[in-house]
Each structure stands twice: as structure tokens, then as C-alpha cells.
Symmetry: D3
Subunit: 131 residues, 6 copies
């Protein structure tokens, strides 16, 4: 699979290589996963996405694990197998237990179901839900 080849460290531009190095440093691992190696064809986009991800996923009003759960939820609804796999792994690395995973899936499945029911019934938004 792949619409572009994955770039090895040697094949990547110096700009992309610098982002790979930052990924390694911040994650304390030598492994750079396929997403970043594919994105490296556009070093500016690579840097922009990586840096934004660092900011968005950092601890804040929501903790990083909650953010990963939300990420898995969106990726599931969008049917993105890559993102489901990578962010399920990330959620586990941040402490997601099997029980939390099971509940996450139950909520996602519940939401999918009521999304469809609300759409098929054409339910109008209640006045009190409007800001």
C-alpha cells in the first residue's frame, strides 16, 4: 500500500530528518512510524503537523489519555485504520487499560447508533440545546 514511498532517514531531506530526530527525542524511542515517513515528502507539512500535534495533545484542561480516546473515536468514525491502530497504541502507552478500551468502544458504538437514528428520524434540534 502507499501512494508515496516511505522515506528512510537517508532518503529524507535534512528538514525532514530534523523532524524525525525531534520525534525520537520527544518520544524517547528510535522508532519513527510510517505516518511521518510518508508525510516527509513535504517537510513543511511534516513539521507543521508534528508541532501542532505536540501542542494539541499536551496536558491541558483535558489530560493526554482523554485526548487519545477522543482521537481513537474520531478515527473510528472516519474509518481510518492507520489512525485507529496508531492511536490505540498511543492510548495504551498513556495508560488505557482493557476495561477503559472496552468502555471506549461501547460509547463509540452507542454514538454511532444514535447518530444514525437521529439522522434517519430527522430530529430537529431542541431549542434548549442551542447556545
Amino acid at each position: 500500500m502507499g501512494t508515496v514511498p516511505l522515506l528512510s532517514d537517508d532518503a529524507a531531506s535534512p528538514e525532514a530528518r530534523a523532524v524525525f530526530d525531534d520525534i525520537r527525542a520527544r518520544r524517547q524511542t528510535d522508532y519513527v512510524n510510517n505516518f511521518w515517513r510518508a508525510l516527509a515528502h513535504d517537510p513543511e507539512q511534516l513539521r507543521s503537523v508534528w508541532e501542532r500535534a505536540q501542542g494539541v495533545m499536551a496536558p491541558g484542561a483535558l489530560d493526554p489519555l482523554v485526548k487519545e480516546l477522543v482521537y481513537v473515536a474520531v478515527s473510528t468514525a472516519n474509518g481510518c485504520a492507520y489512525c485507529v491502530h496508531s492511536h490505540t497504541a498511543a492510548a495504551r502507552a498513556k495508560g488505557m487499560t482493557p476495561a477503559m478500551h472496552a468502555e471506549l468502544l461501547a460509547v463509540i458504538a452507542m454514538a454511532m447508533q444514535t447518530n444514525a437514528l437521529a439522522t434517519a428520524l430527522g430530529v430537529e434540534v431542541d431549542e434548549r440545546f442551542r447556545a
Copy 2:
């Protein structure tokens, strides 16, 4: 809007009315929102969805607010305006602050973006992300 009329208390069957009463009791409000009034045409489905929702959204390994955030995320990815409105309201009722809402939206937006990039690049799932 609506592919079925919303059922008032008077128009609902006794079975549906019993679910309305349970909604009122558990939520400690007299208000029954449009989703349940539309679903009431199928009292069995109404009861089943309502009861499952009670179980799925209850405190467990994940707390109820986190579950609402996940619900909003799925509903957003699916483009379900009704569910986005109702579960954003529910999240607020369970304690979502404006700062949490802002971070939630930032994570959803980030996920949407990388979902698309991973798909457009056709990135293969890394062996290490497979269970």
C-alpha cells in the same frame, strides 16, 4: 424537519410513556427531548436505546464526562447536528468547561486532519501497532 412526528405524552403509547417517565425521573427534569419523542414510534427500540445508554454512559473505568466528550467526537465526525448539540449540552451539564470544549475541538480537528493525510498517503499500519 422530521421523517416522523414527535410524539407528545398524550400521543405516546403507554410503553413509550413509561420510558418518558423514566427519563424524567433519572434526569430530574420534566423535559423529554425531541430524540426520544421521535423514537417513541417504536416503543421497544425506545426502551432498548434508553436503557443501553444508561448502562454505557454510567461511571465505570471512564468517567461520564469523558464518555460525553467521546460522544461529541463521534457525532462530529459523522456530521450529526442533533447529536452534536445534545451531547455538547450533556457534556456541559457534566462539567465541561469552555477550556475543555476548546481542547476537545482542537483534538477532533487534529484527528480529522491526520485521518485524511494517512488515508491520502495510503500509509500501511506499522507492525508494532498490530496486536
Copy 3:
């Protein structure tokens, strides 16, 4: 709403007007619904979509009501409010009872749920399901 104005009979081109007349004749009603009036800005697309729809939705190996149920299912999954409304109305006109509507919604909701679970679990397709 609308990214283009709906074309009245007077505003439509003769080619578009001819399709409107065909819609009226085949449906035995004077009413031309908004979808066709919006599509009429491109008379060739209007004719092509209308004619294809006549062929695809005609009785064949599947009966027209079953085809409408499938149409509602796709429109729901895609979150297309217009199509959900128009094809729910079409399904009723072709004999969909409230009980059939209720079962249709239950199947759609079930599918949405297991679609999400299969995706979130990253389940590999069984060999025996491959042709």
C-alpha cells in the same frame, strides 16, 4: 439554504422543463421536488440523473420498495437530510409501513454499531468471506 436558486418552470431551460414534464408524467403529480429544481441548472446532469434513477429504481431482481429502503440506509449513513426525507417519503408511497420503518431503523443502527466495532478492533477479514 441552497448554493444555487431553485428553478421555477419559467426559469428553467426548455431541456430542463422537458425533464420536469417527464417527472410529472411518470409520477402522476404536478409537484416537482426541490432536488430536481436545483439540479436543473445543469440540464444534462438533470436528465442523466433522472433517467438513471428511473432505470436503477425500477422493479427487477429487487422490488422497488426494497430499493427505497437501501436508499434510505445509504442516505442515513451519509448524513444527507434531504435524501433521508425524500426517500423515506418515497418508501412510504411504495408501501413501507410503520413496522417496516421501525425495523429498517433498527438494522441501520445495528450496522452502524458493528461497523464501528469492527473498525475500532481492526478485525481482519476472514478468508472464507473473500471471493
Copy 4:
């Protein structure tokens, strides 16, 4: 692929194993497909989804084959490869002929197309389609 390992009969809990046995008994086959083996990590969800599926897909106002066609339609719109494969196989087992499959695909494709046109044109729902 897979965000969780598939559970063999030996690895599954007694509760999950009981559902596997029920699947075998009701389907009169020894084969338990991957979806259920992945879901078995959460035996309660496994039982709940399996039992609900039995109820929802049973003969009623709609016959079981029609329900499978609807299931394939939703799964296609959601881009769930697993569900498309498993429910296409199920539809065949319930009598879907190649001609029916071809017409199903034609209806799905038609719906996808007009869903997009209605959305891109922003067509407002006709008053007469509202309940």
C-alpha cells in the same frame, strides 16, 4: 491487522466461550468469525451485540435477506471492509443472487451520487417530505 488479538476458544473467558457456543448452535457451523473473536475481550459487549443482532436480523416486517442488503448498504457507505465482506457473505447465504447483488450495488451507487448532489447544492427539504 487488529488492535486486539483474536481470542481462540481456549483463550476466551467462560462467558465469551458460551457466546461462541451459541453462535455455533444457531448458525449450525463450527466456525466463529473474527469479529466475535475480537469482541470477546469484552464478554458483556460480545453477548449484548450478539443477542441484539439475533433480534434485529430476525424475520419480522422485513425479511432477513432485505435486512442483510440494508446492512451491506450501510457498511459500504461507512467504508467498513470487514462488514461489507461478512454481510455480503451473509446475504448470499440467505439467497442473494448475482442479479440481486448487482442491483443492490446500483442502488447504493445511485444513492451515493444523489446524496452528494443534494449536499453540494444545499437543497432544502420540501415541506411535503416533513412529517
Copy 5:
């Protein structure tokens, strides 16, 4: 509609107001559309999205009109009515003629259709399409 109120100039924070002013200056209009007024509750996200949009939509290897057409296509597939409306208007402002609009819709509709067919048929990617 709206899960947050739209912020008027007076209600917006100085940081958000500064972005509103930049929008006015770059677009040479006094009008600030609803999207930015809703996003203004998170001034940092407002600035980040606005600035990124300026960069992404600027002339480059692709011209700005082509970028707007792509934007409309994505928004249509996602069923985002707001984005379909705002970017169809933007495309017109950048020179999209009715003939171009008609062809854009025809391509989107064609893609939707073959996307569904490829998914329903489970077509494997040809080796020669892999990078």
C-alpha cells in the same frame, strides 16, 4: 443552531478582535462570517486556523480556485453544509463559472459512486498503483 453563541466584535476578546481585523483587511470587506465568530471563543485556535488557511489556500503549485474546488469536494463528502456554502461562495468569488460548478458536481458525484462500488466489491489495490 449553534453549540456556542456567535461573538460580536464587542463580545470578542482583544486577541480574537485582532483576527477579525486581519480577516477584514485581507478580504477587503467589513463582513466577518459566522465560522470565525463561533471559533472566536478560543482565540488561539481562531488565529491558528485563520493563519493556516491563509497559507494553505494561497497561490502555489495549485491555483487558489482549484483549491476552493477541492475544498468544496471534501466538504460535500463530509456532509458539512456550512463549509459547502461558504466555499462554494469563495469559489465563485475566485472565478468559478456555472459551467465549472456543474462539472465539479459531476466529478464529485462520479467519485462518490465509484468509491461505493470499489468498497462494496472489496477491490484490492493493483500493484501498479502502489508507490
Copy 6:
């Protein structure tokens, strides 16, 4: 993968084989890709989709490369891996450079993000965007 077997030239009906020949002649290649070989089980649908694609993707008010970019955008939003791969290849064959590919992806990613923000915020369409 595949819910139907791919049809070789020998296995295809004369009607399907005639379309294969037309594909070869118009594309000046001996290769017929998997999509058409899967669709060949329904020769009428095969011919209809192939001929429509020829018309829709032909030069017109938009040039063929722009149409391929739009096709990739829709296919990405729909998560159709097959279509992403085949139309990325087609875009390259029609002149898409790596710089154009990078900008295409940036626009798609931007649109995905703002689609989600507009939906999560429930932003109402501005009067001035309505036709």
C-alpha cells in the same frame, strides 16, 4: 480481499470483454485494472460507469488534472483506499507533480479540520452564502 472474484478476459462475458477492449484502446495500455474486472460481473453497470467516467472526466470547463484532484479529495474523505490509489496514479499520469500533490493534501487536511469545527460548533450558514 474482494466480495466477488476479479474476472479475467476469458471469464468475462462478451459484453464485458468489449468494455475491457475499449479501456485498452482509450488508455493505450494492455492493462485493465482490478476495479473494472470486479465490476465486470454486471456488464451493463460496467459499461455505464466506464462511459460516464469518460464523459465526466473529459476536458471541459475544468481540465482533466483538476478533475483528478477533486476525485482524490472525495475518495480521501470517503476513506476509499482503492480510489485514492488509482486516482492518485491517474493524477500523476496527467501531470500532478510532487509539489501539487503536497498542496492537494494540505487543502484536504485543512478542509477536514474546518468541516469538523463548523459541525462541532453548529455554525449556522450566513445569509450571504445562500443563493
